[in-house]
Amino acid sequence: MLPVVPSVLLILLFLAAPILWSFHASFTNAALTGRNARNPAWTGVENYVRLLGDSAFPAAVVLTVVFVAASAVVGQNMLGLLIAGLMTRARRPVAAVVGTAVVAAWVLPEIVAAFAAYAYFSKDGTLNQVLGGAGMAGADWLYAYPMVAVVLANIWRGTAFSMLVYRAALADVPQDISEAALMDGAAGWQRLVFITLPLIRSSIATNLMLVTLQTLAVFTLIWVMTAGGPSNASTTLPVLAYQEAFKFGDIGYGTAIASVLIVLGLVFGIAYVRLLRGDKR
């Protein structure tokens, strides 16, 4: 068991310790600078009470839920499934070219993707050019509809993952079952709902879990595109935790928000492990 030691040390020191420290610091008034940075005092649940009273926190929770539901659960997941499904029917070169385009947005460094999305949605960006070309009025997306912009940007950025998962899953669906259903006169949507989807349901569950977690942690995309604004209109929990801790220097309050996120992540993580385990039986 000796060879495991380096990994265990790294994980304990850099993952487990920060998590424990986070729970501890969230009960103090630790600050970025000044007297409270040296000797933070124990303040009990004060930070958590403040969370509930602070109007920014419930708003951030709602925005986070909207962001995850719209861009991950609906957007990336459904679009990924749709693309993978279309790929099984389309010509090979078409599937290959489109697959490359979808994956490109995903492989790019996140800051580059974020700049590209910023340019795309900015007032005289590409989206408004396209809309203008089609005779429609554009909008100043990043200010007027910041959530729409970041949700669409995250769908663009992350769909490749779901697409790859579903391509692998669909390739494993045995053809004779689908063929038998076709012989029995099942329509396309019937085959999808009653045969394909039940067969790949464990891939769907796994994918939903993973894209939810990835999207829960999105910071850079939102930070570059809107910085959480205008006036908190796109401040999700990671952005809020960053702002409280580093912009306002309130580490204690920031870690309280971070702790909420960590608990959320752990809940999803445990659910994910249970899911895989149930699968094996």
Partner: protein
Amino acid sequence: MTTAGRPELDETSRRVRHGQGERPGRRRGRGPADAALLLIGACFVLPLLWLVFGSLDAEAGYQTRLPASASLANFTAVLTPELLLRPLWNSLLLSAGTASVTLVAAVLAAYPLSRFESRFNRPFMYSILCGTCLPVTAIMVPVYGLFVQLRLLDSQPATVLFMAATALPMAIWMTKNFMDAVPVSLEEAAWVDGASGLTALRAVVLPLMRQGLGVVFIFVFIQTWGNFFVPFILLLSPSKQPASVSIFSFFGQHGAIAYGQLAAFSILYSVPVLVLYVLVARGAGGSFALSGAMKG
């Protein structure tokens, strides 16, 4: 007569052969499926066009347009040591360092997990799997606090170790799956010849899973190369920051005037990971890396 019949026969038989491996109803749905896919593909390419056109346009704005006269002025403008080369060097140091540390630790951890039955294996692997789910963004505030306490802030080695720790759960998981695919019988032969466990690992197992190791290394490398948030929080002096942070701080301040340079910088910074990704995808067959990560 016979010669006239030949092509027709061939045509039919080819169609039959061609149709064999395909899904029912595939041919019927081809046209619409192609069209729908191309439309989706166009939507995905559209935001990237600005990067390409803008980088070649000396007077670029946020509009996508064909440059009036294509020039490499933007590229030459950003190709200076302090603007691009040093940040890229830092990115290389961080990514290669993180990928190396991760790979060594992951191989060492995966070996006993893959080869020796122990009642700790399952709980360990499941907590590792749980660790892959941890949102790294969420722990950055406490990690900053921890780094302040340990006086590790602004240290590249410490940043490498932290990023290695965040990459480890996924890397151990992938490495173990690759290692499970190497038959034990070969090692047993080495053991009989008197090789110790670690010698057998080095001489027998690792060479056989070269490709898998490459996938894990490149996977971690790409992930670290593209990471913005971690170095943004942990590295303070510009001389130590990687390209992801320097691009943000430079163009966050000057971006309003230098869109073309921003695009050129982005492209130069992205090319290495695009090349590495193609390498993995080609060498290992599409979603191979992903399947290594996903299989339970």
